[in-house]
Every structure is written in structure tokens, then in C-alpha cells.
């Protein structure tokens, strides 16, 4: 259930990337991959580290997906910017 929550939060936050300049690697699809993977991987790590099972969910489960999504988006954005600079 926690994985579903992470995924859902990642997908939810991805929707707001339309307000950010489109410099993500592979554009909106790259942002989608970054947001979802970031949320799920980061959330999973934190969930495991805090000793909770993936079946347990509470408010914190949703909240820990937010920094994960941000990290994922930042990574994809950085890759995008870098590839633009290389192309220039």
C-alpha cells in the first residue's frame, strides 16, 4: 500500500511540473519518470530505514514521497540542462 501512496504522490506532484520551464530530460515524460521513480525509491528507502513495513501507511507515508519526488525531478532536470548545454 505504501508503494501505491508513493507512486500516487509522485504522479500528483508531476502534474505541477507544467509550471516549470520545460528543460527536463525528455520533457514532460522525463519529468514523469523522475517524479514517480524519485517518490517510490526515496519513499521505499525511508520506509525501510524507519522500520515500517510496506503495508503500513500513515500521513508520513504521503509526506516522505514529496522530497523523493523533488529529488527525482531535480535529477531529471539537471540531466536535461546538461544535455542542452552539451548540445549548445
Amino acid at each position: 500500500m505504501a508503494l501505491l501512496v508513493f507512486f500516487m504522490m509522485g504522479l500528483a506532484l508531476w502534474h505541477f511540473t507544467v509550471f516549470i520551464p520545460d528543460r527536463f530530460w525528455q520533457g514532460i515524460i522525463g519529468a514523469f519518470i523522475g517524479a514517480v521513480l524519485g517518490a517510490v525509491i526515496f519513499g521505499w528507502i525511508i520506509q525501510e530505514a524507519s522500520g515500517k513495513s510496506l503495508g503500513d501507511t500513515d500521513l508520513s507515508t504521503a509526506l516522505i514521497a514529496i522530497p523523493g519526488t523533488a529529488i527525482g525531478l531535480a535529477v531529471v532536470y539537471a540531466i536535461g540542462v546538461r544535455s542542452e548545454e552539451r548540445a549548445d
Binding site: V18, G27, I28, T57, A65, A87
Partner: protein
């Protein structure tokens, strides 16, 4: 064949089909599922018997065949026995109300063995019961009586005396301890079980038997229905070569008294014959007209039977001193035991005075004295006739539906279906006028043909099936809407009626095929992967979709084609195509960021709801027992709880529910998984205390393994559906079109999960099935839009992708809304007029349709647009348009401007093409469409980098700027005068 002749042929063919269908419907009865006619559904899990280590596929097939034969003998009409997964079997018994008898008849392993009784008794048992007719030695007898007293059994009762003198132990624990002390027999070929078995007993005295026999120790701790058993109990291992059997005492009439407590024996496992050695078992009557089961023997069985009875007779003879009377001979004679599934069914004597040389096997034998009534003897005869199951079957799920509730559900389903159909017809006629009438005729033909197919195949009509049927009404109407909107477009574009009809069908058919193939694929995946109840839904949907192609496309085309030159179709108004029609001029792409935000917020709320409230999974997934009972006497929830707790059934949720058809005292009891015996106990105490109305008991029990299987099959079906849908879209369109579809699907799934979490509505396997199907159906809208985008891309060679999408969306939005609305009518009808189960389906469909329509318009298309806009070709177009439009990319491509851009392109073709790198695209956001380029002032942007011939490029650019300035001035002037 000419068009006219072909149309005539199609019309005659469909009319013929309709006529045949009407005949079939009139003459053939519809096969109703358990949920519509009441009955019993049992799900068994196969386990090894002990002679084998695993359950093979052949074992399951053989078991299914045996169960089918047993059910046929039960006289159940139209039963269904099917494999479920790798080692489970589902048995549907319509109309069956005696759950206990059905369970025994269907699931008993029926391992039948015959033992020479006395030589196989062990230790003290043999000392007491090993010499019939002889007073047992004092010591062992006293010790045995003491044991019985300690076990709390009354040794003075006749039933106890009987068992004590036979050598029985009072508890299974005592007998198991004796058995456990025996030497194991390695590789025992003649034993009934070649492996050790385990028993679990309560830790506290008198060490009641909790579970067993099991072949694996771990199986002792979890019941077949998944119920946890105490870990601190005592485990006793009975080695190979020894078996533990029970025996009930007989009453004064010589019948087994199953209401009394049994005695227990540890026996040497040396059967003389097995069930394989008997032939032609049948129920007959004994000398006193009591029911008996008589049978013959195979050749080897005859010999074995003669030998064993001779041995018993000779032993009896040896006990006799001198000549004895008939009575004395009877008392001294040894016994021959018939043991079925570790229970002594009968233990007759072999009277040595009557049969000194044993019994001739050719005359057969009989089992007598152990039957409560005629039906029990008949059942045993049937079971023996059919043979033993090759595996043990453990009941993991049991559902009993009362006939009253079933017929109530059927009435509600039919009402909802008819009203849904009427609403769809009403909408079609009011919106499409004559075309709507044609569609209604097609829907009527569809209904008849479809229903005839249900009767003919036959498809078992279940509640989920009715939901699928209502959905297919929407699918059939949708196909017409897609074509009719197209015809209206063609008529408005000035085409003649006949060519508009031809063009409408020509252009609409590929969209319909794409959309229907996806629905079919989803239905197929559901059918293959889903559990039994959902299969009906999937099958109905699949068949309905195919029939809808015939009636909604082929039939209506022929009908319209025939009438296209008639007076009826002269005016566009007849088709509802008068005037300009609704022209959407909305900047979908520009506004999509706000729609994205709405979705984002909904998903965030759903995410938080899911994290804090989770999902309310039904017993399908969580396992448990749900009982719906209509009581005769008025009472309240507390009293029902007290009565159930008095019977040892605790931890249940009890709720009084409203069901006018069952009276005013209807209660729903939900608890952890109850064993079948506990469900019967609950029914019995409720009958005793309050009385239960006729057909007023309904129960469902689902074990965790079954729940897990349902959950796994749902996840697998979901993943497969997504992959197949994406694969199909990638093949039919292009790979880039598949990703937005995938995102839209995920969007729909998660929004639905959020809605279910927020509302707390129960998620059942039916919900998941309905949702999966609606998912396939929701892609319909996306396919309609994508299909038009694909069509418009070559038509608009100079437009930005966002403009193409905007144009496509504006062209098909009416279609999308009309198709969704038609389906919604059916779903709303289910929600209002369907019963609780159909309402659950309808809710899932409602959320799916709403979310699916929204995501195909406001998520899938903008994502596709944003992604495609990054392609170099579209970046170039965009820059060129922005240059012409003063740095702005308008929401809609103006045809005149596009033509001028075309002229620019011709000029540019003479000059070298500027190369634009994707990275240099100016953008404020992924889906922005109306935007100003960073350097709109000079119109060149970063793209005007030199490529070798800067002078020519600069000259062309200067000319373009001049022309652009003129165009802007002209456009401003036009706008000022109110013209576009």
C-alpha cells in the same frame, strides 16, 4: 456485388438473425448464475493424499471429472466445476440449499479401505478387543475404564461400554500417543498412507484434537480456510504403517450414532482390500428393510475378500471350544472393518459357523448399519461408485446465496438494463433524430441477437454479466455516435447525403475498430486471468462488443445506405445536422496546465486519503465470512451478537440492513473466516433463537489463500491490460502515442483508488473487474482524439502540434461527450435501479468513465502534445509560426495564415534552411501553447544561427519580417471590425 445489392443482403442477413434470435429466446431458457437463482459455490484446494508428494495437473483434472460425476448423482441441474489456478477447483451448485450434504458429497476424498480388524489392533486395544466374545483381562480393562473416566466420559453409558469393550480409546490424543510409539514402516507399499502424518492437540487436558491428519507439520497451524491455530499445541507424529481411526457407537437399532462422542483406535495400516477392489456399489435394503450399500468385487478383490474373511472365520473357530450355538458363534466371530476417510463406517462380524471358509467374493458384500437415512446410504454408494479422489480437497471458500435474494437481484438487473436501454434510445433519438432512430433499431437488433447468444452458447448470466451487458449497450450506441458525428460533419461540409454516409462510415470505422479491439483485449485478459465470477462479466462484454460491430456498424450502414437517396434523408435537419453545429473554439492545450493542476490536487488529496484511510477491501481480498440472515422474530444487533457469542462465534460485526424483500429483521454478520461447521452452527442457533424466514440465509466465506489469489489475479490483469493497450496503441498509431495513454490509465487508476479511499466504499473483486473493463472502455475517448490527431497531422503540414491537437479536440469533443453520456445513462440506471452488487459495479464504472473522459481530454492529449512539440520538425514549425504571429503561437491554426506560411516555405526552400536544435526551444512550461519567444522582437530567435549562407538567409528573413508586419496590421484591422 453492387452496393445496393450488398446492403440488401446485409439487411436480410441481420433480419434473419433477429428472427432466429427471437425463436431461440422464446424456446431456450437462460442459464442463470448462482447469484441470480441461489445456490452454493464451493472452492477447494487440492492437497496430496500421502501416497504422492504433490498435486499434479492430472490429479486436478481427474478430481474435476470425479466431482462432476458426484454432482450429477446429486441431481443438481447445470452445475459448473472448473479449475481455478494451478491447484484449486471451484464448484457451483445452483439451487442447492443443503450445504452440509453437498460439501460431504463433493469434497470427501472417499479413500475406502477394508481391514481385518482384530489383528490390526495395537497394544492394550488388542488385549481388550482382540478376542471377541472372551471377557477381556481385568488389568487392561480397568486401566481403560480409568482412562475414559479421566477423559470425562461416562463409563456406565451403553455407548461408552460398547467402545471400551472394543478396545477404543476415549480421546484421539490417547490413541495418537499409542500410534506414535509404533515403529515406522519404511516404503510401505501396502499401506493406505505411505508417509507419516501429524496431529495437533490442545495443550490443556483433555487435549482435544485441533487439526490433523496433515502430511506437513506446518499445515497444522493454519486451517484450510486460513484460520490461525494455536502455536503452543501438542503435535503428535503418527508414523507410516500405523493409522488413527475413529468409530461412533451404534444405537439400539444397530445404526451409527453420530450424535455421540466417538472412540479412537490406533491400527496397523495393513488393509486387506481397497476401494479399487470393489465393483458396482449400489444402495439397497437389508433383511430388516434398513438401507445398506451392496457391492461386488473385482477378480483380485474376490480372492482377497475370500482370504481375509476365511482368516477371520478360522480365528473365530479357534476361539470356540467344542460345538457352539449360533449366538455364541456370533459373539466369538471376528470383525471385518470398512473404513472411509479414517472413519469406521461399519464393522460387521464374519460368522464362522455360517461362513467357515470365509465369504465367497463372487456374491459381493454389503455395508450396513451405519446409515442415518436412505440418502446417506445413497450418497456413499454414489461416492464408491465414482471412486476416490486422487487428492485431498480442502474447502477454502464457500458462498451460499438464497434463491429469494437471487431472484430479487435478477429483477433489479433486468429493470436497470431495460431502463438503461430506454434512456440510451431516448437520447439518441432526441439528439440524432432520424439517425438516432436507426441507431435504436440497431440497438434492438443488438439486444435480441446478444440475448439469443447468451442462451445459445450458453453464457451463464450472472450479476456481473448483467453489468457487462448494460455496458455493451453503451458500447453499441457509441459506435453509432462516432459514425453519426462524422456523417453530420460531412453533411455540414456540403457533401450529398449518400456520399456523407459513405464517408462517415469510411472514416469512422477505423476509430471504432481501434476502440473495440482495446475493449475486446481487456475483456479477453479479464476472462483469462480473473476469477470465476468475473469471467462472466468479461465474456459478456467480449461477445457484446463483437455483436455491436455487426449491428451498430454493418447493419446501420446497410440501412442508411438503402435509404440514402430516399426523400426521408433529403434535409440535413433530419439528421440533426442543420446549421453550423456546435463549434468548439477552446484553447485546450493552453488551459491544460490548469486541468493538470486540478488533477494534481485531486491526486494529492487521494494520496493523503490512501495513506491515512487506506482502502476498504472486501472479504474477497481480506478473507472472512459474511452472513445475511432474515429473522422471523424482531430483535436487535446486540441480541444477535449475544446468541452468536453463546455459540462460540465471536469477533463479528453485526449490522441491521434494509431489505424489504426479506422482511424487516435482516442482519448482516461479518466476521473473520468461519469454518463451514461454524457457519452451520451460526445458522442453527439463529434458527433456534429467532427463526429464519424461508430462503433467508445467505453466506460467503473466503479464505486468505483465495483472497490472495483474487488480489494477484487482479494485479496481473491490470498490468497485462496496460501493457496490451499500450502495445496496441503503439502499433496502430506510433510508440509516442502509447506513453500518454499509459499515463492516462495510471491517472484513472489512482484517482479511482483515491475516490474509493475517501468514500470508504468497499473494494471487491467485482469492483476491480468493473474498473478494469471501464479502463479499456475509457481508452475509447483517447482513441477517438488520437485518431483525429493522426488524421489531422498530414492535413495540417505547417501547424504546430498543439494547434493540431486543439483542432482535433474541438472536432471530436461533441463525440467524446456524447459517447460518455450514453454510457453514463446505462451506468446511472444501474446505480439507481440495480441492487447492491450492481450498484457497486456501477460506482466503479461511474468513477472510471468520469476519470477516463477527463484524462483523455485533459491529460493524454496535452502530454502527447508537449512531447511531440519537442521533435525538431515541430520546433521548426512553432518558431516559424511565432515569427509570423509576432512571437505568438495561436491556439488554432488559421487556414489563411497557414497558406501564407506555405508560401514562405516555398521562398525558404530556395534559401538554405535554418537548423534549430531542440534545446534552443523557448518555453515557459511543458504544455504552454500561446507563448512569446525569447527574442520575438527580431523574430529570429536562436534558430537564426548561420549555416553557411548568412546573406541569403538574412535577406529572406527581412522579407518575411516585412510580410509579417503587413499581416499583423491586416489582422488587427479585421479584428477591429469584428471579423476573424
Amino acid at each position: 456485388m453492387g452496393t445496393r445489392r450488398r446492403n440488401l443482403f446485409v439487411l436480410l442477413f441481420v433480419l434473419g438473425l433477429v428472427g432466429i434470435s427471437a425463436l431461440i429466446i422464446a424456446n431456450k431458457e437462460t442459464k442463470l448464475g448462482l447469484d441470480l437463482q441461489g445456490g452454493l459455490e464451493l472452492v477447494y484446494k487440492g492437497q496430496p493424499t500421502g501416497t504422492t508428494n504433490e498435486v499434479s495437473s492430472e490429479d486436478i483434472d481427474a478430481s474435476i471429472s470425479i466431482i462432476e460425476k458426484r454432482i450429477n448423482e446429486l441431481g443438481v441441474s447445470e452445475p459448473e466445476v472448473a479449475r481455478l489456478g494451478s491447484d484449486e477447483i471451484t464448484v457451483s451448485l445452483p439451487g442447492v440449499t443443503d450445504a452440509r450434504r453437498a460439501e460431504e458429497q463433493v469434497g470427501s476424498t472417499a479413500q475406502l479401505f477394508y481391514y481385518d480388524w482384530e489383528p490390526n489392533l495395537i497394544g492394550p486395544q488388542r488385549a481388550i478387543g482382540g478376542r471377541p466374545g472372551i471377557q477381556p483381562p481385568e488389568g487392561p480393562l480397568k486401566a481403560s475404564e480409568k482412562r475414559w473416566e479421566e477423559a470425562g466420559r461416562n463409563v456406565n453409558k451403553e455407548e461408552s461400554k460398547q467402545l471400551i469393550f472394543a478396545g477404543a480409546y476415549p480421546t484421539a490424543y490417547d490413541a495418537a500417543l499409542l500410534a506414535s510409539e509404533q515403529e515406522p514402516v519404511e516404503n510401505c507399499q501396502d499401506c493406505s498412507v505411505a508417509r507419516p502424518r501429524y496431529y495437533l492437540f490442545e495443550k490443556e487436558e483433555p487435549h482435544d484434537l485441533i487439526a490433523g491428519p496433515e502430511l506437513a507439520k506446518k499445515d497444522l497451524y493454519v486451517s484450510p480456510t486460513g484460520k490461525k491455530r494455536p502455536k503452543d499445541g501438542i503435535v503428535v507424529e503418527v508414523p507410516a504403517g500405523t493409522i488413527l481411526v475413529s468409530e461412533y457407537p451404534t444405537n439400539s437399532e444397530g445404526q451409527l450414532d453420530e450424535t455421540a462422542e466417538p472412540g479412537w483406535y490406533a491400527l496397523k495400516d495393513k488393509p486387506a482390500l481397497s476401494g479399487n477392489d470393489i465393483t458396482d456399489p449400489e444402495q439397497s435394503y437389508g433383511p430388516n428393510n434398513e438401507p445398506v450399500v451392496s457391492f461386488g468385487f473385482t477378480d483380485s478383490g474376490q480372492q482377497a475378500f475370500q482370504e481375509v474373511t476365511r482368516a477371520i472365520a478360522q480365528r473365530g473357530q479357534a476361539q470356540a471350544i467344542g460345538p457352539v450355538s449360533g449366538e455364541e458363534a456370533e459373539a466369538l466371530s471376528g470383525h471385518f472393518a470398512v473404513i472411509l476417510d479414517n472413519e469406521v463406517k461399519t464393522r460387521p462380524i464374519i460368522n464362522f459357523s455360517e461362513n467357515p471358509d470365509g465369504i465367497d467374493g463372487r456374491t459381493g458384500a454389503q455395508i450396513s448399519g451405519g446409515f442415518k437415512d436412505l440418502s446417506e446410504a445413497q450418497d456413499l454408494a454414489t461416492t464408491l461408485q465414482i471412486g476416490a479422489l486422487p487428492i485431498n480437497l480442502k474447502l477454502v471458500s464457500q458462498t451460499q446465496v438464497s434463491a429469494t435474494l437471487g431472484s430479487e437481484a435478477l429483477d433489479e438487473g433486468i429493470t436497470a438494463g431495460l431502463i438503461g436501454l430506454a434512456l440510451a434510445v431516448l437520447f439518441l433519438v432526441s439528439y440524432y433524430r432520424f439517425l438516432g432512430l436507426i441507431a435504436s433499431i440497431a440497438l434492438a437488433a443488438y439486444g435480441l441477437i446478444f440475448f439469443a447468444l447468451i442462451d445459445l452458447i450458453p453464457i451463464t448470466l450472472t450479476l456481473p454479466g448483467i453489468a457487462g451487458l448494460v455496458l455493451t449497450i453503451g458500447v453499441a450506441a457509441d459506435s453509432n455516435i462516432v459514425i453519426f458525428e462524422r456523417i453530420k460533419e460531412e453533411v455540414r461540409a456540403g457533401r450529398s447525403m449518400s456520399s456523407a454516409i459513405a464517408a462517415g462510415y469510411k472514416h469512422g470505422i477505423s476509430t471504432i475498430i481501434d476502440a473495440n479491439v482495446i475493449t475486446l483485449l481487456t475483456a479477453f485478459i479479464l476472462f483469462v486471468l480473473a476469477t470465476a465470477g468475473v469471467k462472466g462479466f468479461a465474456f459478456t462484454l467480449g461477445v457484446g462488443t463483437i455483436v455491436s460491430l455487426l449491428t451498430a456498424v454493418v447493419f446501420t450502414q446497410a440501412l442508411l445506405g438503402t435509404m440514402s437517396r430516399s426523400r426521408l434523408l433529403r434535409s440535413p435537419n433530419v439528421l440533426g445536422a442543420g446549421g453550423e453545429g456546435k463549434q468548439w473554439r477552446f484553447d485546450f492545450m493552453g488551459a491544460s496546465r490548469w486541468f493538470f493542476s486540478v488533477s494534481g490536487v485531486i491526486l494529492l488529496i487521494g494520496g493523503f486519503a490512501l495513506a491515512t484511510k487506506q482502502l476498504n477491501f472486501g472479504i474477497d481480498f481480506e478473507s472472512g465470512t459474511r452472513i445475511k440472515v432474515a429473522l422471523q422474530q424482531p430483535t436487535d444487533e446486540e441480541e444477535v451478537r449475544d446468541v452468536l457469542e453463546g455459540a462460540g462465534i465471536e469477533g463479528e460485526e453485526i449490522q441491521q440492513v434494509d431489505d424489504p424483500n426479506l422482511g424487516s429483521n435482516v442482519f448482516q454478520i461479518q466476521s473473520h473466516q468461519l469454518e463451514p461447521g461454524e457457519v452451520r452452527k451460526a445458522e442453527a442457533v439463529l434458527v433456534d433463537e429467532f427463526g429464519i424466514v424461508q430462503d433467508g440465509f445467505d453466506s460467503t466465506s473466503v479464505g486468505p489463500t483465495f483472497g490472495e489469489q483474487i488480489a494477484n489475479s487482479a494485479i496481473t490483469a491490470l498490468i497485462f491490460s496496460m501493457l496490451v493497450i499500450c502495445g496496441y496503441v503503439a502499433l496502430r498509431f506510433e510508440p509516442k502515442f502509447a506513453i500518454p495513454v499509459l499515463i492516462a490509465i495510471l491517472h484513472d487508476i489512482l484517482i479511482t483508488a483515491g475516490v474509493y479511499s475517501l468514500t470508504g466504499k468497499e473494494v471487491s473483486s467485482g469492483t476491480v473487474a468493473a474498473f478494469l473493463t471501464i479502463l479499456g472502455y475509457s481508452i475509447y475517448d483517447t482513441i477517438i482524439v488520437f485518431d483525429r490527431i493522426r488524421e489531422n497531422v498530414p492535413r495540417m503540414p505547417r501547424a504546430a502540434f498543439s494547434q493540431i491537437v486543439n483542432r482535433s479536440m474541438s472536432e471530436v469533443l461533441t463525440r467524446s461527450l456524447a459517447t460518455s453520456f450514453t454510457t453514463l445513462l446505462g451506468v446511472l440506471s444501474l446505480m439507481v435501479f440495480g441492487g447492491p452488487v450492481l450498484q457497486d459495479f456501477a460506482f466503479a464504472m461511474l468513477v472510471g468513465i468520469a476519470s477516463g473522459t477527463y484524462s483523455s481530454i485533459f491529460i493524454a492529449s496535452p502530454v502527447l502534445s508537449a512531447w511531440k512539440e519537442r521533435e525538431p520538425g515541430f520546433i521548426r514549425r512553432r518558431l516559424r509560426i511565432a515569427e509570423v504571429e509576432g512571437g505568438i503561437v495561436p491556439a488554432y491554426a488559421d487556414d489563411i495564415e497557414m497558406a501564407k506560411l506555405g508560401r514562405d516555405d516555398e521562398t525558404e526552400a530556395e534559401a538554405p534552411q535554418p537548423v534549430k536544435e531542440p534545446a534552443a526551444e523557448a518555453a515557459t512550461g511543458a504544455v504552454a501553447t500561446v507563448e512569446r519567444t525569447e527574442d520575438s522582437g527580431n523574430g529570429s530567435g536562436k534558430s537564426a544561427s548561420g549555416n553557411g549562407d548568412e546573406e541569403a538567409a538574412a535577406s529572406a528573413s527581412a522579407e518575411r519580417r516585412e510580410r509579417n508586419a503587413e499581416r499583423r496590421a491586416r489582422r488587427q484591422a479585421r479584428r477591429k471590425h469584428g471579423r476573424r
